[in-house]
C-alpha cells in the first residue's frame, strides 16, 4: 500500500484530535484523490476553452435553439 504525502499530512494533522473525537459512522465523503481529479478536469476544460480563438463580435448564445 502506498500513502501519498498529502494523505500523511492529513493523517498526522488529525492524530492529536483522535482521542477527543467521539466515534462516528464513517463519512461517505469521496476520497481526496477523487476531488483532485475532478478539479483537474475542470482546469483542463477551462484551459481548452481559453485556447479557442474567438472573434470579438461573437456574443454568447441567448437563444438555445439553432
Amino acid at each position: 500500500m502506498t500513502i501519498t504525502r498529502r494523505e500523511w499530512t492529513a493523517l498526522l494533522g488529525a492524530l492529536p484530535l483522535l482521542s477527543q473525537t467521539p466515534v462516528q459512522a464513517p463519512a461517505p465523503a469521496a476520497p481526496p484523490e477523487g476531488i483532485e481529479k475532478a478539479t483537474t478536469d475542470v482546469r483542463e476544460i477551462s484551459q481548452r476553452l481559453a485556447e479557442i480563438e474567438m472573434p470579438l463580435n461573437i456574443e454568447p448564445a441567448f437563444r438555445f435553439v439553432a
Partner: protein
Amino acid sequence: MPKTKLDETTLAFATIAELNAALRNREISSVELTKILGKRFEKLGPEYNALAYSLVKQGHKAAKDADYDLKRDRFRGLLQGIPYAVKDLIAVAKFPTTWGAKPFADQVFDEDAAVIRRLASKQAILIGKLSMVELAGGGGYSSAAASLQGPGLNPWNKSFWSGGSSSGSAAAVAAGLVPFALGSETSGSIITPACFCGVTGLRPTYGLVSRHGAMALSWTLDKIGVLARSAEDCGTVLAAIAGGDDEDPGSAGKSFYFAPQYYENLSELKIGYAEIDFAEWPDEPLRPAFANALAVVKSIGVPMLEAKLPDFPYGPLITCIIDSEAASIFERFIRSGRVDQLADSKQINGLKAALNYSALDYLKAMRVRSQIQAAFRDLFAKVDFLVAPARLTLPDRADQPFDETQPKRPDQKGVVAGLVQAGNLCGLPAITIPCGYVNGLPVGLQMVGRPFSENRVIALAREFQRRTDFHKQHPHV
C-alpha cells in the same frame, strides 16, 4: 378481477393506438387496463430498479373517471384512459419527488408539473414515478449504481444497465409496464436509455415542452421528452404535452400538432449521414446491425448526402455549460455538504469541482455555442436530417464501474462523434429507434432534424418502423 378477453402480454406490449381502439370498442375498460398494468408495474418495476413510487391506487380513481366519459362517447383523444408513468424529477403534487437522490428522498411539492396537468386534461392515467440517475447525472457519475433505487437494470438482460439518466422510463416501457413514459434530456438522457432498452425515444426541440415543475439541471439545455413503443406513439404523446407556458422561461411559446402525413413524400427531403459512422465507428459486433439499418434507411428513397459534423470540442463545451449551471442551481446543496449523501463519489466530486468554473469559462462556452448554432444552421440548409447510430457500444454492465478506457475509433470523423452533445447544444429534436439486436441486446439509430421539425423526424422514423419490426420485439419478462 379484470374481465377482458385480451391477454396480459398483448396489453402490456400494445401501442397507444391499439389500446385506444380496445378502450373505445369496449374490449376493455380503463379500470381493467390500469389494474393489469398497475399490477405489472408494482411487481416487475422493482425487479429492474425502475419503480420510484407507485401511484396505482390514485390511478384507479382517474381510470374510473375516464371510463365514465368513454361510456358517454366523450372522447378526449388517444391517451384517454391509458396508463403512463414519469421520471422522478417531474413533480406530482403531494407525493414524493426525489430527483433520484437520497438527500431529496422526502421532498414533496404542492403543485403538479405542467406536463402532468396537460396529460391529466387528456385523461391519461398516471400510475407512478420512475427511477433515474441521481440529479439526472449532473457532475458525472461512475456506475449504474448512481441512483436512489440502485442500478437501473435492462429488461433485455438484467446483467446490463438500462442507461441513464431516464433509466426507469426506458426500462418500464421495454418491460411492458406502461405504454409510454416521460423522461428528460440535458445531454443524452433520453437517447441513451431508449437505445439501450430498445424503445423509441423522442427528444423534442428545446422550449417545445414546458419544464415547469421539473428539476432543473441546466436551464439552457433541459428538455422533457417521451419514451414509447413507436415513433407514432411518441408523436401522440408529444402533441399532448407540447405548447407554450409562461411559467417556463425557456418556453418557445409554440404548439405542436401531430401530422406526419404531411411529410409522406420524404423523397423531397435529404438525409445527411456518413458511411464511416456505420462501418467503422461502432464496436465491431454492432457493425452488421448498423449496416442493415443503413440499408433500410437507403431503401426509403430519401436522397442521402455524405455529411460531416462541424468541428468543435462538443464534449468539453457541454460539460462546462451543464456543470456551471448545475453548480449554480445546487450551490447551497453542494456547499452545505449534503452533496456527500449522494451515492456516487465521482458525482460528489464533480459537483464540488464544478464550483470552480469561472464566469469567463461559462461565457466562452456560450459564445462557442453561438458559433455551433450558426454552423448547424448552415448544415441544415443542405440537409433535412442527420442519421447516425444512437450509441456505438452495447450497454455497460450494471454491477461494475463504467469502462472509461477510450476504445480505438477512426481518425476520420463523420456525423456520429459529438452528435448527441451538438444536438443538445443546438436544441434540435431527435428520435432514437431500435434497429437491431446484438447478443440479445438492442442497438438504436438516431435521427436529428431542424428545430421544430418533429413531424418530419417522426415521419422518417415511422417509415423505418413500417419496414422493420425491431420496435415490435420485446423482452420475455
